[in-house]
Amino acid sequence: MNHIAPGRNAGVYSYDDIDRRFVAERVEQFRAQVERRLSGELTEDEFKPLRLMNGLYLQLHAYMLRVAVPYGVLTSRQLRKLAEIGRKYDKGYGHFTTRQNLQFNWIKLEDTPAILHELAEVDMHALQTSGNCVRNVTTDQFVGAARDEVVDGRVYAEILRQWTTLHPEFTFLPRKFKIAIMGSDADRAAIRVHDVGVFAKRNERGEVGFTFYVGGGLGRSPFIGKLIRDWVPEEDFVAYLEAILRVYNQYGRRDNIYKARIKILVHELGQEKFTREVEEEFARLRGPKYRLAPEIVDEIRRRFGGPAFETLTDEPESFQAAKAANPDFARWVAVNVLAHKVPGYAAATISLKPAGGIPGDATSEQMELVADLADAHSFGELRVSHVQNLVLAHVRQDALFTLWTALEANGLGTPNAGLIGDIIACPGLDYCALANARSIPLAQAISARFADPARQQAIGELGIKISGCINACGHHHVGAIGILGVDKKGEEFYQITVGGDPTLTTAIGDILGPAVTADETVDAIEAIVEVYLSNRHDGERFIDTLKRVGHGPFKERVYAAH
C-alpha cells in the first residue's frame, strides 16, 4: 500500500503490485488466523477482534461479511465478482448498506479466507468495514458526474483510504470513526451526522480547500457536527485530519462504549475547547512531513482517469420522443435521473426499493445485469449510494430508454428515488444480533401501501428511514419521517419521529408521541402524509410544511384513535 506517511511520497494510489501484495498478505494472515481458531490455538476472545478487522461479524443466523466498496465506487468486474460470491458462498443475494458497502448474510467462517482471496483477485477486500478504525470513507454517489460539483471528492476519499489503512495511530481508536466528503454545495452524503464531515470547495482563486465539521453522529446520542474550521488548504488536508484524530485518541473515552465516539468528546469538551485542541495539534503537525503535495493529488486524480465523454447535446430528439411516447419512462426520468455535468449525459439511479421489496437487497442475477448495463452504458463503472441504491453515473441521454427498458424488465425500474418508497432500512431483527425489532417488514408494508408511482410523485420528496435499534444504522434520526424499533416486554413497537434532515439544513427529528405497533405505524405514516397534503402550500416539501404548521396537526391525527 502506498501509504501517505511522514517522509514518504505516496505518489500513486491505484492498485498496483504493492497494493495487491498487501491485500494478498492480509488474506493469508486471516487464513492462518482462521485455522488457528478452528484448531483451538486461538480463543474466541482472541479471534473476535481479528475477524472484525476483516469485516466478519457473527449475526443471528450465520456470519456476516461486510465487503468494502471504497467511497461507493465499483467496476462492473467487481460487481460480477460480488454476484459470484453471493451465488457460490451465500444464498444468491447481497445487501447494500448505508455505508455504501455490501453485506453477505449467510457466510461460513471456514469459507471466509477463500472469499477474501476471490475478492482480492478484483482488488477488493473487507478492511475498514468493522472495528475501532477509520471506516470506509463515503461520498456523493454522483461524484464526478453531478452538475453542481465543485471538487471531485473521490480523490480526497482515496487519499484518506491510503492514509488510514495502515496508520498505527488509527488501528485502536476509542471507537469506530466515520468520515464523509462532499464536493458540491448540496449535501448528498449526510455530512453533518458523521464523526468528521468534510465539504471540499474552491476559493476565489480556484484553489481547493476544506470545511470541517466534527462530532456529528446518530445512535443513542445523536449530534449534529460542529463547524471547527471553514477553510483548510488542500496541502493541510491530511495534517488537519491527523490533528483531529490525535485529539480524539488522546482524550476520547475508552471506559464506556456509549461515550467513546468523538461526538461525546466534542460535546463534553465543548466546541471551542475541542477546536483549540485541534488547532494546537495542527500547529505542531503542520509542515513538510504532513504536507499533501499538489503532485500527489494530481497523480491520484490522474489514476482515477476520466470517462471518454463524447461531444453531445442535451435532450436529443430520440430521448424526447421516448419520453413523449412512454409516460412510465418519462416518470422514471423525472424521478430517478439527474442532470450531468457533461451535456448529453445523465446519472441514473437504479432503485433497490421495489414496492414491497427489501431495501438494499439485490440478487446475484440483478448484480450481473447491472454490471452488464454499466458496461453497455456507463463506462463499466457504477456506484452504491448511502440510501441503498445503485447509480450508473455517466449514461448517454439517448441510451436512457434502452437502459430503463432493461431495468424495468428485471424489477429494477422503480421510479421512486427520493420519494416515500425510497426507504432506508437497516437489516433489523431479521438478521442483526443487536436489533430490538424488525425493520424490513415495516419498510415493505409502507412501500406497498404507497406503491402507486403517481401518488408517490404527487407526495414528492419525503425520506422515511427505519432503524431496528438505537444504534441507528437506518439513520432514523434524520428521516423526514424516522421510525425506531423498540422492544416493549418482548413485543415490537415503533417510535415515530418527524422533521429529521440529512442535508445542508441538518436536523434531528422530534418524537411525535408514544410508540405504536407495526400495523399502527403504517396507518400513522398514511395519516402524516394526509395531514401534509391537506396543509401544504404550492411547492412545499413535507419538512417545509411541518416547519410551518408545527407538529400539532400531525400528532393529533396520528393519535386520534388512542
Binding site: L38, T43, E44, Q59, H61, K91, I358, D430, R438, I440
Partner: protein, 110 residues
C-alpha cells in the same frame, strides 16, 4: 435434567443455543449426557429454570473446549400443543430464519 414436551405444557422452560463455530449455524443443545448439538429447536433439550445453569456451564465448557460453538446461552420458550415457541421474537427468528425470506434458514427445510 432435560424434560420432555408433555411434562411442560404452557410452562416457561429454557433451551440452550449457540452458533456453530465453523459456519455460524444456529444450534441447540440436545438431550442426553453426551453434550451433542442439533440444528432444530424441536430436537433440543428443554430445562426447568433450576437445572439450566449447570447445563449451560457444561455446554459452554464443551463448546469452548472442543472449538465447536460460540455465544452459548439459554433462552425462554413455551410449549403449547406440542409446539415449542420461544418467548422472544429474536429467538423465534433464530430458530426459523428471517421472517422476510421464508425461503431461507431452518424454516425453508421444514
Amino acid at each position: 435434567m432435560a424434560l420432555n414436551d408433555q411434562s411442560s405444557n404452557e410452562a416457561v422452560l429454557k433451551a440452550i443455543t449457540a452458533n456453530r463455530l465453523r459456519d455460524g449455524e444456529v444450534i441447540f443443545l440436545a438431550p442426553g449426557p453426551d453434550l451433542r448439538w442439533v440444528e432444530r429447536l424441536d430436537d433440543a433439550a428443554l430445562f426447568e429454570d433450576a437445572a439450566t445453569d449447570a447445563a449451560l456451564a457444561a455446554a459452554k465448557a464443551q463448546a469452548e473446549g472442543e472449538q465447536f460453538a460460540v455465544d452459548v446461552y439459554a433462552f425462554d420458550l413455551r410449549v403449547a400443543d406440542g409446539q415449542r415457541v420461544p418467548v422472544k421474537t429474536r429467538e423465534r427468528i433464530r430458530a426459523l430464519g428471517p421472517t422476510v425470506r421464508i425461503d431461507l434458514g431452518k424454516q425453508a427445510a421444514a
